[in-house]
């Protein structure tokens, strides 16, 4: 966030009005910088043209990594590194490995996904993101445009016509 941006944004009071407005903006080919809401709005992603999150694929890969770590780790320890006899059972007693393999799969998948989530979103302890409007985390629904990308007069008329309750310009 080194360079600043001049933005223009509108605030709506209701998520369903916001959805309609986003649809209008898309139909008018206005390039939306981002949409900010106090809670997740279902049905927004397809209108906005956001592709489905691939976080679950990352989760699967991390989980598989956990499975392999646990299974191969225990197998190596009990057959190669330090084989111990437990009650005459085979060294490579796979059924007894299942609980730990399961736990590590879950552990790796969760930690991996959560870390990935924060990294790709650019969020984390100490991160300070520019605040567009303090009420976005309360009860306002915001569509923001980067003035460099759009025709400002078109955006202004769009914001007025779609019932934005407030229109502001700001440098962030």
């Amino acid at each position: 966030m080194a360079q600043t941006k001049d933005i223009i944004y509108g605030l709506w009071n209701d998520e369903e009005d916001l959805l309609k407005a986003v649809q209008v903006a898309k139909d008018d080919h206005l390039e939306i910088m981002d949409v900010y809401t106090p809670f997740p709005i279902h049905g927004l992603d397809p209108i906005l043209g956001l592709s489905e999150s691939r976080l679950h694929i990352a989760g699967f890969v991390y989980g598989a990594l956990g499975t392999l770590t646990a299974f191969l780790g225990m197998s190596w320890i009990f057959t190669k590194d330090w084989p111990i006899i437990f009650g005459g059972k085979p060294h490579w007693s796979v059924p007894a490995f299942i609980p730990i393999v399961f736990e590590l799969t879950v552990l790796f998948a969760s930690i991996g996904m959560v870390v990935t989530f924060y990294v790709i979103n650019g969020l984390g302890p100490g991160v300070v993101n520019p605040t567009i409007d303090l009420r976005i985390t309360d009860d306002k629904f915001c569509i923001a445009f980067d003035k460099a990308d759009v025709d400002v007069s078109k955006v202004e008329s769009f914001l007025k016509n779609t019932g934005a309750s407030e229109i502001h310009s700001k440098t962030i």
């Binding site: 369903e16 999150s53 736990e103 969760s110 996904m113």
Partner: protein
């Protein structure tokens, strides 16, 4: 914001809240100075914690000999308390994960506090094995890490080690799940704060902005974490039960243990959630967010799991008798009629008998009774673990080594200390974080707020123009306008719309219910179009649209595509491939009777999609 509104479900947010009211009500407890009740509770909890720490120090300094464990009873209050706390720690993840997968909206009122409770309970639980091993300072030997002792590894075939992995994983995943849910709410707190407080909350909120893409990933993350936390929560108490079930002690090595322990864990966890929630909602004035409907739902879970536990107790008794195995028979006879008979009957009464009163609806909805029973269950579940552990061990195979176990003041003190730790952490949590998940409550407001659903509703739920702006203070005229416009918008028939408006203008509290009912009745008997004439709509999708109050071509022509998308999404994943983008256009042609043009359009479409 899922669109399906059930007429049967009770509203889960009372008081005609707007989005801003929700923020105000849920954040303000962290902004006020603590009240006298909080300070008293905190002082008491910290004192208990202090005494507990003293007893732990005493144990470590003098050794485990300060406990009354002997060569017959090797597990006493320590492991009893450990299992008790772990069990309590099960409700949080159950509420946040399993109820998320089942799309139970009532979870949003209680999930935050229940998850916090889970984390604190697991901390209390983990303390016990840590000091029970004796040399607490080398407890890290449990973890497999390359070391200079060989390297010597722990025994991966041992249930005690599985337990270590299960509990560490459970703690970590619960913490991540809880914190990820907290991040947007910390941002809400941050945006109301100033100065140093704002800096602290910005740190805690990780710089959250509320961007659409972040929310999309946040939802995806929550859903997957819920998906993997569900088997995890079931695995944890299953593995705790393996600590017992894989042994050769009569009364312990039973195959019923895993499901029976899991049911018992959920049972005790919900009891503790109720104990805490009933006090929290009162002190923080959250009665409109944690409603009687929430309490009743939890009481139903208590009734079911309590009954499962009861069936498990009786099954154990029957199998002990039916097995013909004298040691097993003796173990159970000894539980009920031996020197610890009082704990067995305490367990039976508290866990099996007491929750049965919740068959009666008025008891499930009575706060005083619920609070009392929740305490009784907490005690009963402690007795259960004591019965399983101490009673079983006290009389083993060899009568000459039979013994009787009572705890010393040190053991009691450590237990009191964990109670102090638990309540200290919980009380701090209520000061720092919103106790109810703000963003999640906002997201269910349109479907579960009492202005949209239930007997006090003032909006027709299919009204998607006005929303939360019209709050309870709005004049009566506005309300009538709102519901009237909603009806004329969705209803294709002028006659029924007029009659509905007339009815709703009566200044009668029930008028809107009449409106809604009448509206539905009119639709189901007259002018319903065959929506299947629209390309892309089959019989099932047609039913889904009907449930969303779309019966005619005219109604379908007037709705927005995102609303249709929501209806389909709410109906399940199998409707993901349906694309409603062209349906309103097709419906408009059908409404106007332009069948030739509709045919033309449909020839150009591919399965209802624009090409």
């Amino acid at each position: 914001m899922s669109s399906h509104v059930s007429p049967i479900r009770e509203p889960l947010v009372q008081g005609h809240k707007t989005y801003h009211d929700i923020t105000e009500d849920l954040v303000s407890p962290t902004e006020r100075a603590p009240g006298a009740a909080w300070i008293t509770g905190f002082a008491l909890s910290v004192s208990m914690l202090g005494f507990g720490l003293f007893c732990i120090a005493w144990t470590i300094w003098h050794g485990i000999g300060t406990w009354n464990l002997n060569r017959t009873v090797g597990w006493g209050w320590d492991i009893t308390n450990f299992v008790w706390w772990i069990g309590i720690g099960h409700a949080g993840t159950l509420i946040s994960a399993i109820l998320l997968l089942f799309r139970q909206k009532w979870r949003t009122g209680v999930n935050r506090a229940a998850e916090a409770m889970t984390i604190f309970a697991v901390i209390c639980a983990a303390l016990f094995p840590g000091i029970h091993v004796g040399r607490a300072w080398v407890v890290f030997y449990f973890f497999p890490y390359p070391n200079t002792r060989g390297p010597l590894w722990p025994n991966f075939n041992s249930p005690l080690l599985w337990d270590l992995f299960a509990i560490s994983t459970y703690f970590t995943v619960s913490l991540l799940f809880w914190y990820t849910g907290l991040v947007p709410d910390f941002a809400t707190v941050r945006d109301r704060a100033k100065g140093f407080r704002r800096k602290v909350y910005n740190f805690l909120s990780f710089g959250w902005t509320g961007s659409a893409k972040h929310w999309q990933r946040w939802e995806s993350l929550s859903l997957i974490l819920a998906g993997i936390a569900t088997p995890l929560v079931l695995s944890v108490h299953t593995i705790v039960s393996f600590d017992f079930a894989t042994s050769v002690i009569p009364g312990w090595h039973t195959t019923i243990f895993p499901p029976y322990f899991v049911a018992g864990a959920i049972f005790s966890g919900f009891a503790m959630v109720l104990t805490l929630m009933i006090v929290t909602r009162k002190l923080l004035k959250l009665e409109e967010y944690i409603t009687i409907a929430h309490i009743e739902s939890m009481n139903k879970v208590i009734l079911v799991t309590g009954t499962i536990v009861g069936v498990a107790y009786l099954t154990e008794l029957f199998i002990a008798w039916y097995s013909g195995y004298v040691y097993e028979q003796f173990a159970f006879f000894n539980r009920a009629a031996g020197p610890y008979w009082w704990s067995y009957f305490g367990m039976m009464f508290c866990n099996v008998v007491s929750p049965q009163i919740f068959w009666k609806r008025s008891f499930r909805r009575n706060i005083a009774i619920t609070f009392f029973v929740s305490i009784v269950i907490n005690i009963g579940m402690w007795f259960e673990r004591f019965v399983i552990i101490a009673t079983t061990l006290a009389r083993d195979y060899l009568p000459s080594s039979w013994s009787y176990y009572t705890p010393t003041w040190v053991e009691i003190g450590i237990f009191i200390g964990t109670l102090g730790l638990f309540f200290t952490l919980y009380l701090l949590f209520t000061r720092v974080a919103p106790v109810v998940a703000i963003a999640e409550v906002k997201s269910i407001l349109k479907t579960a707020g009492d202005q949209y659903t239930g007997p006090n509703a003032i909006h027709n739920h299919s009204d998607h123009t006005s929303g939360a702006e019209t709050d309870s203070e709005a004049g009566f005229d506005t309300i009538v306008e709102t519901s009237a416009s909603a009806i004329s918008m969705t209803s294709g028939m002028a006659d029924s719309a007029t009659s509905n408006v007339e009815e709703s203008q009566e200044p009668n509290e029930d008028s809107d219910v009449v409106t809604t009912d009448a509206g539905v009745k009119v639709r189901s008997t007259t002018g319903v179009d065959d929506l299947k004439k629209i390309e892309g709509i089959g019989p099932k999708v047609s039913d889904i649209l009907n449930e969303g109050n779309i019966y005619t071509f005219s109604e379908l022509a007037d709705v927005e595509v995102p609303y249709l998308r929501q209806l389909l999404d709410a109906a399940g994943p199998s409707y993901k491939s349906h694309n409603p983008e062209s349906w309103p256009e097709q419906a408009a042609l059908a409404r106007d009777g332009k069948w030739a043009e509709l045919k033309d359009l449909q020839d150009r479409l591919d399965g209802g999609k624009y090409v």
